[in-house]
């Protein structure tokens, strides 16, 4: 790993070009090597990368544990479905709906963040978990008295993204190369993921990013140094939620169908796990976590086939195995790499500090803050 990094830092242009080529041909290589289904897995890996990067702003940068993050994904997805499906007979173009979805999710980020401002740690996690469930339960039940969400059946026939008549939902042949829908979406998602990475990187290294880090390190000291902790925390919720909403809209267009089922608590936990596994606060780590946790469960499906081939029947359901391995992986990680696979330098130090005696005293100094 270090050798690769040294080499890449010596030849930045070449390394960058190689990465670009690799990302460009990836869907073809994967599609040819593993089958077309795997291109869809790649698409989801990109979606989850966006989600994980968004949640990383809240959890990794600002240190606010949010267990209801999937709600913003749901809001983005539902807004896309409402404005681009037969549900209300609306078919607005994606470049109107996607920003609206991001905006709606961002506003809800502030709305749901506001009541939690005084909470920390476990308490914050429980309240955000509740908010996440509230949104899902609303979506599940808002089919009456007026049918808004179509309830548990979900919304079907959502418009695919189409750019000037070029629908990403159909197969196209460009320059003699057949491009299937998942491949087309791959490039779209890749563009959005790169955009998300760009924004996340720039935010991290800025006045706002420093303020988030300061709040994470010591909220009282941050306030006493003139940081408006309320606004800066709400900003973190809003920014995270915005990316969640954006990813949600893309998800709705890609799937063509959404239902409350897709936005359950397990999804929130998965996204959090991606961050924790990869390395909280560190963008390469978060990307690695998201890709690993999307791709590995898919790979485990083969285990069922092997069992059938070797034993004639499926002894252990791959789905159960998935949770088992997942649990083992998490425990192993907490033991051997508690700061994640690719931790940020600062986070690594924080974990080390907590090991020792140097944990800063968190006096209950606040009684004026609201």
């Amino acid at each position: 790993m270090r050798n690769v990094r040294d080499w890449a830092s010596k030849h930045p242009t070449f390394a960058f070009a190689m990465l670009a080529v690799l990302l460009a041909v990836l869907p073809f290589v994967v599609g040819a090597g593993l089958g077309k289904g795997w291109v869809r897995v790649l698409d989801f890996a990109l979606l989850y990368t966006m989600l994980a990067l968004g949640l990383n702003i809240v959890v990794g940068y600002a240190g606010l544990l949010d267990l209801g993050y999937i709600a913003f994904y749901a809001l983005g997805a539902y807004l896309f479905a409402w404005l681009g499906s037969p549900q209300f007979g609306l078919h607005l173009p994606f470049w109107v709906v996607l920003p609206l979805g991001a905006l709606l999710a961002g506003s809800f980020g502030v709305l749901l963040g506001a009541p939690t401002l005084r909470l920390r740690g476990d308490y914050l996690a429980i309240v955000t978990l509740g908010f996440g469930e509230i949104i899902r339960i609303f979506m599940n039940n808002l089919d009456q008295p007026v049918n808004i969400t179509n309830g548990p059946q979900g919304i079907n026939l959502i418009d695919p993204i189409s750019i000037g008549g070029f629908s990403l939902g159909d197969k196209h042949i460009v320059l003699g190369i057949p491009l299937f829908s998942p491949t087309l979406y791959y490039y779209l998602f890749l563009a959005f993921t790169l955009f998300t990475i760009f924004v996340a990187l720039r935010l991290q290294d800025s006045r706002i990013g420093r303020a988030w880090a300061a709040i994470r390190e010591d909220e009282i000291a941050a306030a006493a140094m003139g940081i408006n902790t309320r606004n800066i925390k709400l900003l973190a919720f809003a920014m995270g939620a915005t990316f969640g909403g954006l990813a949600g809209g893309l998800f709705a267009a890609f799937q063509g169908f959404i239902s409350p089922e897709s936005f359950n608590l397990m999804e929130s936990i998965m996204i959090l796990c991606m961050i924790v596994l990869g390395g909280m606060g560190n963008i390469p780590g978060v990307i690695l976590g998201a890709v690993l946790l999307t791709v590995l469960p898919e790979a485990l499906r083969y285990v069922g086939d092997w069992q059938r081939a070797a034993l004639g029947r499926v002894v252990v359901d791959p789905n159960d195995l998935r949770m088992l391995l997942f649990g083992i992986a998490m425990v192993a990680m907490m033991l051997y790499r508690p700061a994640g696979l690719l931790p940020s330098r600062q986070r690594k130090r924080e974990f080390r500090a907590e090991d020792g005696v140097a944990e800063q005293e968190q006096a209950s100094l606040y009684d004026v803050q609201a």
Partner: protein, 253 residues
């Protein structure tokens, strides 16, 4: 000219009156000492003044504007910064980053500026960096700018906290036991830093146990005991005040 006026401030924690009708005023340009035995309420008063505690009764005014029960960032914005008795640095950030956080309240770049890095935002970021380096220079930490705050020597951490507070451009700087736990050499250096701070036009409010230091650098001193002010005046008078002697040496003395 009165810079900070504390008017009849009371702070109750349940049945305990940590502060009882404390009144004092700090003039612009002076070094004002706040002394008293352990548990006298000095830090409580600091926390009330800087917005970490609400006051139960009374008023605190900075240049005639009430600041009691306002949020800390608002008070910092009005030009009143502080340090902490038990150092509260951002331990896992570099020395320079700590000071840069202090510039937050005097700068404006938002999300859009941070993402786009337009010329104005870049200029501001550059200015934050340069000003922070100047302040590190001022407190003598320039060559430690990349060191982690938690890796600094104890005395340097105290100095860094002062630099971070200075980054908010305070008119009034409140230091909570800035030389606690320092050796004589470090104390002397810190005393010199106070003189330089005063020369740069900043009013200092000092909580201190080291009576020699207090008597040496302070223009005026107030003494707290059991949440009440028992004396105020120039150091020499206060030192001879029978109430102060009794508070420090016990009632029988």
């Amino acid at each position: 000219m009165t810079l900070l006026a504390v008017d009849n401030v009371t702070k109750r924690f349940g049945g305990l009156n940590a502060l009882e009708g404390v009144t004092l005023s700090v003039n612009a340009g002076e070094v004002y000492g706040l002394i008293g035995p352990n548990g006298a309420g000095k830090t409580t008063l600091f926390n009330c003044m800087t917005g970490l505690y609400t006051v139960s009764a009374g008023a605190i005014r900075l240049q005639d504007t009430p600041i009691h029960n306002r949020k800390p960032h608002h008070i910092v914005g009005r030009g009143f910064a502080r340090t902490f008795q038990n150092i509260r640095l951002f331990a896992n950030m570099s020395t320079l980053e700590n000071v840069m956080v202090g510039r937050h309240v005097r700068t404006r770049t938002g999300v859009l500026g941070a993402v786009l890095r337009d010329p104005r935002s870049r200029a501001e970021e550059g200015a934050i960096h340069d000003r922070s380096m100047e302040l590190l220079d001022f407190v003598g930490l320039r060559n430690r700018s990349r060191t982690l705050a938690s890796h600094l020597a104890y005395g340097d951490q105290r100095r860094l906290e002062i630099a971070r507070a200075l980054a908010t451009e305070p008119k009034l700087l409140a230091l909570d036991e800035p030389v606690a736990g320092m050796n004589p050499n470090e104390r002397r250096e810190m005393g010199e830093l106070f003189i330089r701070l005063r020369e740069s036009g900043i009013t200092l409010l000092l909580i201190e146990h080291d009576v020699k230091l207090v008597m040496g650098v302070c223009d005026r001193v107030a003494v707290l005991d059991y949440g009440r002010k028992i004396a105020e005046g120039v150091p020499d008078e206060v030192r001879r005040d029978p109430a102060v002697v009794a508070a420090y040496l016990g009632g029988a003395a």
